[in-house]
C-alpha cells in the first residue's frame, strides 16, 4: 500500500514548540485519514528548526465504497415528499427505489452507493485544511499576502510544502494542493549554511537520506543522541564529566539541524562564584552545558556548546566568540553576587512593603509576617527552636530581592542560603532559607532539619489557607498557584518526618492570621482537609498503593492527624493483603449488606448492645465474646497508635464471623432473636470501625 510524505518547510520554529507540533501533525493527519475510512499501518513525525515532517505508511490507495440506505416517504405520499426523497438520494424515479413492507404502511427505501475516492484526492482535500488550522500556540502573518484578510497563519513564514504519495516500487505522485500560494511539490532544501541548495525528494526513505547528505539530521532523537554522546566524549577526553541536563538537551537539539559539539573555557577565577550561579548563567543565557571534575564533583572552568555548522576553521572562531560572551556573562554574575553580599538580608525586607503578593492577600511583607507567626506556632510541634524558626521565616524570602535571583529565578532559596551563611546566620537558619521551598514535587527531597520543616510547613499552609480563603482553588487542569504541589509537600513533610500535628488547628490558626475573611470560615479547614485527602489518594495511587483505603480511614471522621491517617492506611493495606484481612472484610461487608437490607425493611437501625440472654447457639456466643475482646484489644492498640496490633486483634474476629455466617440464620422466625442477631451484626461493623470504615473499601 502507498505511503505519504509531508514536509512543511519554514523559517526557524521555536525549539520549545517543535515536539508538540510534530505530534499534532501526526495526530491531525492520521485522525482525519481514519475518519475518511483510510486505516493506515504506521506514522511518524519529526521536527527540526526549519521543518515539520510526517511519514504515514500503508494507506489504502482508495477509500472503501460506502452503501447506505435511506428511508423514504410512505407509498402514496404527496408529490413534494417524493420529489424531496428523489433529490436527496439522487434516484431518477421511484422505480429505482425498493419498497419496504410495514404494518403501519409500506414505504420506499433508497439505496445510495457512494464510491470510495482515491486516497490521494482525499489527502489533497484534508492536508490544506490541517495546515490552515494548525494549532500553533502562537502564529503570525507575513509578506505581501498579509495585506489581505484570510492569509495563512503559521508559526513563522512557511516557504515550501512537500507532499508525495505512492508505492515504494513506483514514482510517487505529488498530492496536488496549495495553501496561500504555496504549491505542494517535491522540492525541499538542505542545511541553511552547509547545503542550502534545493533537493528533489520522492518518498520518506530517500528524503531522510538526502537530508542527511545535505547536513540535516531529521530525527530529533538522533540529534539528541549525537549531542549527548559527543558532549560526554569531549568532556571525558579532557578528564571531565558532563553535567547532564535533559531540558537543555531538548532545547539545544531544537536549535540545530547539524549538531557540532565544541568545548570552550573561562577564567578559573569565576569558579569563586557559586556553582549554581555559573551553571544558570551558562545554561540560561548561552544554552551551553557545564562540566565537572569527576574526582571532586566541582565545576571545571569549561563549557560545552553545540554549534549548527561544521566551520571551515574547525570551530576556533565559534569557540572564541562563545568564550567572550560567557566571560562577559560570568563577570556580570560575579558582579551581581558580590553586590548582593554587600547588603544584609534583613535590610532588604522593607522593600517587601511595596510588593504585592496577591491583590486580595496583601503584600509580601504581610505574608512574611504571617509565615513568621505560623512557623513559630508550628515550631514546638516539630521539635524546632522557636527563635531559630522565627529568624529563618523572617529571612527566607529576602533573596527574592537580590540581583542574582532577579537574574536567575531558579536559584531562589539557594542564594538565600549562601547570603545567610555569608552574614553569619546559624546553619539551620541558612538551610531553611533554601529548604523551606521543598519538597517541590514528588521526586524532590524532603527537608529533615526541624527549622526547615517548620518554615516549609508554615509557608505552604499559609499559601493553601490564603488561596482557599479567597476561593482560588485548583480546578481541573488549572492550578496557577501550584496548590496541589503545596498540599503534597505538606503531606510528605509530615509523613516522612513522622510529625504529629492537627491540621485543622494549624489551618484555623493560619486563617485567623489572614486579613481577608472568607464567607464560610467555619467550613474552610474541613474543606482543606478534604483536599489533603484527595492529594493523599493521588500520591498513593501514583505509588501503586491502594488509594480507596484513604476514604475508609477518613470516613471515620475527626481525622486530621495526617501521620496517623497514613499509618492507618498502611496497616490496613497490609492487613487486607492477608487471608485473615480478606475474609474479615468479606464477613464485615456481608454483615453490612444484611443490615442495610433489614434496616430498610424495618425502617430502623439495630444499634445498642445485644442481649446475651437471647443467644441460643454456640456460634452466637463465641462471636459476641470475640467482639468484646477484639474491641477492647483493638481500641487499646489504637490508643497506643499501634495499628498493626489493632489489625492483628481484628484478625481474631475472622473465625467466629465465618462460623457465625456458616451456622446461624440471622432472620430467625422469632422477631426478638432476629433483632438480637442483627444487633450482633452491627457490633461487627462497629468493632471494625476502630481502624476504618470497611464499607468504604472497594473489593
Amino acid at each position: 500500500m502507498p505511503d505519504l510524505l509531508l514536509e512543511l518547510f519554514s523559517e526557524e520554529i521555536p525549539a520549545r514548540m517543535q515536539g508538540k507540533a510534530a505530534d499534532d501533525l501526526r495526530r491531525l493527519v492520521t485522525d482525519k485519514l481514519v475518519a475518511e475510512g483510510l486505516v493506515y499501518e504506521g506514522a511518524k513525525a519529526f521536527a527540526t528548526p526549519r521543518r515539520l515532517a510526517l511519514t504515514v505508511h500503508g494507506i489504502p490507495a482508495r477509500q472503501p465504497d460506502l452503501k447506505t440506505e435511506r428511508r423514504g416517504p410512505k407509498i402514496g405520499a404527496p408529490d413534494a415528499a417524493v420529489q424531496g426523497f428523489l433529490k436527496a438520494t439522487g434516484l431518477k424515479s421511484l422505480d429505482e427505489a425498493k419498497i419496504q413492507r410495514d404494518p403501519k404502511g409500506d414505504f420506499y427505501i433508497g439505496l445510495i452507493e457512494k464510491p470510495g475516492r482515491d486516497a490521494i484526492d482525499v489527502l489533497a482535500e484534508i492536508l490544506p485544511v490541517i495546515i490552515r488550522t494548525f494549532p500553533w500556540p502562537k502564529s503570525m502573518r507575513w509578506g505581501a499576502r498579509s495585506g489581505k484578510p484570510g492569509s495563512l497563519n503559521w508559526v513563522r513564514p512557511l516557504h515550501a510544502i512537500t507532499a508525495t504519495f505512492g508505492l515504494e516500487t513506483e514514482e510517487p505522485d505529488v498530492v496536488k494542493f496549495s495553501v496561500d500560494g504555496i504549491e505542494a511539490g517535491q522540492t525541499t532544501y538542505g542545511h541553511r549554511f552547509l547545503a542550502p541548495a534545493a533537493i528533489s525528494v520522492r518518498r520518506f526513505e530517500d528524503y531522510e537520506a538526502k537530508l542527511l547528505d545535505a547536513k540535516v539530521v531529521l530525527d530529533p532523537e538522533r540529534r539528541k543522541d549525537a549531542i549527548l554522546t559527543d558532549a560526554k566524549q569531549l568532556a571525558f577526553a579532557q578528564g571531565f564529566e558532563l553535567v547532564e541536563d535533559q531540558n537543555l538537551l531538548d532545547e539545544v537539539a531544537g536549535l540545530v539541524e547539524w549538531p557540532v559539539v565544541l568545548m570552550g573555557s573561562f577564567e578559573p577565577e569565576f569558579l569563586a562564584t557559586p556553582a549554581e550561579v555559573i551553571r544558570a548563567t551558562i545554561r540560561n543565557n548561552q544554552k551551553c552545558f557545564v562540566v565537572r571534575d569527576p574526582k571532586t564533583g566541582k565545576l571545571a572552568n569549561k563549557f560545552i556548546l553545540v554549534a549548527n555548522i561544521e566551520a571551515t576553521d574547525g570551530g576556533a572562531t565559534i569557540i572564541a566568540g562563545n568564550e567572550r560572551v560567557i566571560r562577559a556573562r560570568l563577570s556580570d554574575a560575579k558582579f551581581f553576587y558580590e553586590t548582593d553580599l554587600k547588603t544584609k538580608l534583613e535590610d532588604r525586607l522593607p522593600k517587601f512593603d511595596q510588593i504585592v503578593f496577591h491583590e486580595k492577600l496583601g503584600t509580601q511583607a504581610e505574608r512574611i509576617k504571617r509565615i513568621e507567626r505560623l512557623a513559630a506556632e508550628i515550631a514546638p510541634l516539630v521539635g524546632a527552636d522557636v527563635a531559630k524558626v522565627t529568624r529563618a521565616a523572617h529571612l527566607a524570602k529576602a533573596d527574592l530581592l537580590t540581583e542574582v535571583v532577579g537574574e536567575f529565578p531558579e536559584v531562589q532559596g539557594l542564594m538565600g542560603k549562601y547570603y545567610a551563611l555569608a552574614q553569619g546566620e546559624d546553619a539551620s537558619v541558612a538551610a531553611a532559607c533554601e529548604e523551606h521551598y521543598k519538597p517541590q514535587g514528588p521526586a524532590d527531597r524532603v527537608p529533615t532539619d526541624p527549622v526547615s520543616v517548620a518554615v516549609a510547613l508554615a509557608d505552604k499552609i499559609d499559601t493553601l489557607v490564603g488561596f482557599w480563603a479567597i476561593d482560588e482553588k485548583p480546578t481541573g487542569s488549572k492550578d496557577p498557584y501550584a496548590l496541589r504541589r503545596a498540599a503534597l509537600g505538606v503531606i510528605r513533610l509530615i509523613a516522612e518526618n513522622a510529625l504529629r500535628l492537627s491540621l485543622m488547628k494549624v489551618a484555623a490558626s493560619a486563617l485567623a492570621g489572614l486579613s481577608v475573611k472568607p464567607t464560610d470560615a467555619q467550613k474552610l479547614p474541613s474543606d482543606l482537609l478534604a483536599f489533603f485527602a484527595d492529594r493523599l489518594k493521588v500520591q498513593l495511587r501514583e505509588q501503586g498503593a491502594r488509594h480507596d483505603l484513604v476514604d475508609a480511614v477518613f470516613a471515620l471522621g475527626g481525622q486530621d492527624d495526617l501521620l496517623m491517617i497514613v499509618r492507618r492506611v498502611e496497616a490496613l493495606g497490609k492487613f487486607l493483603d492477608s487471608d485473615d484481612g480478606k475474609n474479615l472484610l468479606a464477613g464485615t461487608k456481608r454483615a453490612s449488606n444484611i443490615l442495610s437490607i433489614e434496616e430498610k425493611k424495618d425502617k430502623r437501625t439495630f444499634d445498642g448492645a445485644p442481649d446475651a440472654a437471647l443467644y441460643s447457639l454456640d456460634e452466637e456466643k463465641a462471636l459476641a465474646k470475640a467482639i468484646g475482646e477484639v474491641k477492647a484489644e483493638a481500641s487499646a492498640a489504637v490508643a497506643r497508635e499501634d495499628f498493626a496490633a489493632a489489625m492483628s486483634a481484628m484478625a481474631k474476629l475472622r473465625p467466629p464471623v465465618d462460623a457465625f455466617f456458616d451456622k446461624v440464620r440471622v432472620n430467625d422466625d422469632d422477631a426478638k432473636v432476629r433483632e438480637n442477631r442483627l444487633k450482633l451484626l452491627n457490633e461487627i461493623r462497629s468493632a471494625t470501625r476502630a481502624v476504618a470504615d470497611f464499607s468504604k473499601i472497594q473489593d
Binding site: 523559517e11 502562537k138 502573518r141 509578506g143 495585506g147 516557504h159 555548522i309 565559534i318 566568540g321
Partner: protein, 311 residues
C-alpha cells in the same frame, strides 16, 4: 565585504566604516537611507519611519541609524558595554520580502561576519512594546552565542493590525562592532579607523557624555519639571490630534506626525523619571498605559493620512 575599501573604512577596523557598510548594503536593497530622528527616544522602533510607516497598506523600505537613550542603563562610563546612549541600526521593509532572512545574512557578510566560520542562529524571541501597543514574532539573531540583532515580523502596531506585515531588523551597532573589531570594552572601539595620533575611539567621542548623562539621569534631572513636561506633552499630543481631524470629521487627519512627536517626548520623559526612581511600581504601569493611549491615538490618526493609506 567590499575589498576595494581603504583600510580605515573597513567595517572590522572602523565604527563609522561599519555603519557605512550597513547603510550601503541596505541602500542596495532598495531602502531609503534616513538620518536619525531629531528627538530623544528609547529605541529605533519609536522613529515614525517605523512606528507609523508600519501601519497602512503602502509599501515602505527604509534603513537608518537611531541614537537610543535608555537613561536607566547609564553606568557612569564604568561598565564595558552598558550605556545610557547607544546606536541602533534599524531596517524596516513592508511588506516583509520573502527572502528577508537571506538579506539579513548577506548584511552580516557585508560587515565581515562570514557564515562559514561563525555560528549564526535564529533563536525564538517574541517582541512586545507595551508603550507602543505593538507586538510581533521573530528571533534574536545569535552569532557565536552573542545576540547581535532582533528580527521581528510586526503583527500589530499602535493597537492596529499590520496589513501587510512589515519585517523589522534592529542591529545593536556597538556590540556588533566590538565583536568584529575584537575589543571587550565599548570605549576602546576604533571610531574612525585611523591609527596612531589620528585614531579616534568611541571613548574619545562618548565617554565624557556617558559620565555626564549618568549623573544627570540618576541624580540631578529636575523631576518636578519632568512631571510637568510629561503632562504637557500628553496634553499637547491630545490637542494636536483633536485639531488634526479635517473639518472636524474623523475621516482625514492632517497632523499625525506633530502629535506623534509629543508621544515620543512623553515616553522619553517617563524613562527619565523612571531612572530617577520617582515612579512607584503601581504608577509605572499607569504611565506606560498613558503613553500607549497616545501611541494608539496617533496610529489612528496616521491611518487617516495620505502616507497612512487613506484614500
Amino acid at each position: 565585504m567590499d575589498a576595494s575599501l581603504p583600510a580605515h573604512m573597513r567595517p572590522e577596523r572602523s565604527f563609522q566604516g561599519f555603519i557605512l557598510a550597513l547603510q550601503r548594503f541596505w541602500a542596495e536593497q532598495g531602502c531609503v537611507i534616513l538620518q536619525p530622528y531629531d528627538m530623544e527616544m528609547g529605541a529605533g522602533t519609536f522613529h515614525p519611519a517605523t512606528t507609523l510607516r508600519a501601519l497602512g497598506p503602502k509599501p515602505w523600505n527604509a534603513a537608518y541609524v537611531q541614537p537610543s537613550r535608555r537613561p536607566k542603563d547609564g553606568r557612569y562610563g564604568e561598565n564595558p558595554n552598558r550605556m545610557q546612549h547607544y546606536y541602533q541600526f534599524q531596517v524596516i521593509m513592508k511588506p516583509s520580502p520573502p527572502n528577508l532572512q537571506d538579506l539579513y545574512l548577506k548584511s552580516l557578510a557585508a560587515i565581515g561576519i562570514d557564515s562559514a566560520v561563525h555560528d549564526i542562529r535564529f533563536v525564538e524571541d517574541d517582541w512586545e512594546s507595551p508603550t507602543l501597543g505593538a507586538w510581533g514574532l521573530g528571533w534574536e539573531c545569535w552569532c557565536d552565542g552573542m545576540e547581535v540583532s532582533q528580527f521581528t515580523y510586526f503583527q500589530q502596531v499602535a493597537g492596529f493590525e499590520c496589513a501587510p506585515v512589515a519585517g523589522e531588523l534592529t542591529y545593536g551597532l556597538e556590540r556588533l562592532a566590538m565583536y568584529v573589531q575584537g575589543v571587550d570594552r565599548v570605549y576602546d572601539l576604533n571610531f574612525n579607523g585611523r591609527e596612531g595620533d589620528a585614531k579616534v575611539t568611541y571613548g574619545d567621542v562618548f565617554l565624557q557624555a556617558e559620565r555626564e548623562y549618568s549623573k544627570h539621569n540618576f541624580e540631578v534631572a529636575d523631576t518636578a519639571m519632568l512631571f510637568e513636561q510629561f503632562k504637557m506633552a500628553e496634553a499637547a499630543c491630545r490637542k494636536y490630534l483633536d485639531a488634526g481631524w479635517k473639518d472636524g470629521k474623523r475621516e482625514a487627519h492632517l497632523m499625525a506626525l506633530p502629535a506623534y512627536d509629543q508621544c515620543i517626548k512623553a515616553s522619553h520623559v517617563f524613562n527619565l523619571l523612571d531612572a530617577r526612581g520617582v515612579i512607584s511600581v503601581t504608577e509605572r504601569q499607569s504611565y506606560i498605559l498613558r503613553v500607549r493611549e497616545l501611541a494608539k491615538a496617533c496610529g489612528e490618526a496616521w491611518i487617516h493620512t495620505e502616507a497612512g493609506g487613506a484614500a
